[in-house]
């Protein structure tokens, strides 16, 4: 459970960061490179046993957001990129495809990282890179309690709507009472959490596990993937494919 036998947390983290940089810096009008870079999520998810299907499905959650960001591009940017069999493809469409692919691929890389390594090991690796443990602890706890506190907010909202006239926003005094109450409940919860932590030996800093080593397999993983990603990022395999298809 504490990191896979195959890829220790630091290696996985390093590869993920480099992959994200590679994906996010691809020039916007070259979406074909992004598809080739899809090799990493596909292979990594299969090798680590998660399965690409699962990762792909979960990554679809980001589609609405990405589409919203890019949806205007085909409309605004109608400069022609090229013509294919009578159809004019504009730059706007290319950038839309790029944005969607970027979103999907980077999200998939993050999913694989977290599912394989576990969030807490990811944060421990960050700590080893010098990122202060207070920040990583902070994000851990916030991430954990968002659901609970948001859940409380929804319950309070429903209770209020049952007695009220179903508005979607509130006059400022009422809003302040609502949110203020939520805050007081949150701080009371924090007090109880702190008690539970102390009862199990907490002394101010969250222990994040102490077992992250660089093994030979993790070195191989890191070096291999960094090389592959760099190659795919800078060399356009599409040309190869083009020549290949011309010859056929």
């Amino acid at each position: 459970m504490a990191g896979s036998a195959f890829t220790a947390a630091p290696a996985m983290l390093l590869v993920t960061i480099i992959y994200l940089v590679a994906v996010l810096t691809i020039p916007i009008f070259q979406p074909q490179k992004l598809i080739w870079l899809g090799a990493y999520p596909i292979m990594a998810s299969e090798i680590t046993g998660i399965g690409f299907l699962k990762v792909l499905l979960r990554s679809l959650w980001i589609l609405p957001l990405v589409v919203v960001i890019g949806i205007f591009n085909p409309i605004l940017d109608t400069e022609t990129a090229f013509v294919y069999q009578g159809m004019v493809i504009s730059k706007g469409w290319l950038s839309l495809v790029s944005i969607i692919l970027r979103g999907l691929l980077s999200f998939q890389a993050l999913i694989i990282l977290i599912m394989n390594t576990g969030l807490i090991n990811v944060f421990n690796s960050f700590s080893r890179l010098g990122i202060p443990s207070i920040l990583t602890t902070q994000m851990l706890l916030t991430y954990r309690y968002i659901i609970i506190i948001a859940g409380e907010a929804i319950v309070m909202k429903r209770a209020r709507e049952a007695r009220g006239y179903g508005r979607s926003n509130y006059p400022i005094k009422e809003w302040a009472r609502f949110v203020g109450l939520l805050m007081i409940r949150s701080t009371n919860r924090a007090k109880r959490i702190h008690q539970a932590m102390k009862a199990r030996g907490f002394e101010g800093v969250l222990p994040l596990g102490s077992h992250l080593k660089w093994t030979i397999s993790s070195w191989l993983w890191a070096i291999g993937w960094v090389a592959a990603i760099a190659f795919l990022r800078f060399y356009d395999l599409s040309r190869l494919f083009l020549q290949f298809s011309h010859r056929m």
Binding site: I35, F82, L110, N169, T187, A190
Partner: protein
Amino acid sequence: MHMADALVSPPVALTAGVAAIALISIASKKVKEYGREDIVPLMGVMGAFVFAAQMINFAIPGTGSSGHIIGGILLSAILGPWAAFITLSSVLIIQCLIFADGGLLALGCNLINMAAVSCLLAYPLVFRPIAGSKMTRTRLIAASIVASVFSLEVGAVLVTLETELSGVTALSTATFLGMMTAIHLAIGLCEGIATAAILCFVDSYQPTLLYSSPSSERRGPKSGNKNFKKIIIGFGIAALIMATGFTWLASENPDGLEWSIEKITGNPELEEAVAPPTALMPDYDSTLAGIFGGLIVMSLLWGICAILFRNRKRKYFDS
């Protein structure tokens, strides 16, 4: 005020990122030294609270619309400036990574514009002086409003500066600046009133919550002049980094990453594979071939991998 990736060029992003990292390191040390005993779970829970609070809108009278709170001044009034800065930063980071709300490139800028300005600048320089050491209700309200307006205006100026330096916008600087400051004045007022309303509510029900409040005696000037000076120094360092960074790239090509790599490696092959954004049309026939070819190959790859590694039903983290 969330900046999208499209507005920020890599060099600007890098500079802001470095400044943000510096501030976070300083803040972490401060929280470890001066933080209360339960600061860790409190920060975590307050971060989650900010998410929830941002989901609940208040009505803006006169207009038909609604708004939500950002929470920098509010958090500072509860947790103190350094802890509030880390909390708000973590919220922004989570929004960026998991909700894709504002891009990864723009993260550094967003951290500075929203978290650092409100917690590390507006709170100590504006809120605290107005609130004074013997805080009354009136002072609390005034401090909230003025500090919020201040932080949003400064943020607006910074956004303008950053987009200008990124060379992205076609608007003239003066127009853009004018628009931004006007809009953020209104936003700042709303934020200030909302903050004041919550702080007053909390003060009536649980005054000990506030870092220092009208209705209770708190730990008082432990957060006094010593912290103040160090905050200024910390911010000064960040400003210095940003200033040097920005001057360096004021004359640079906006798409600095490709350009820098070319210069460093001097590799002609790289130049070929790299498409400068202002050049007219790299050969696009490989684009379509690449897309279709790529999809085919990737599907094959998936199939092969799925078969090869079929037996790897390993345990993984499922959240």
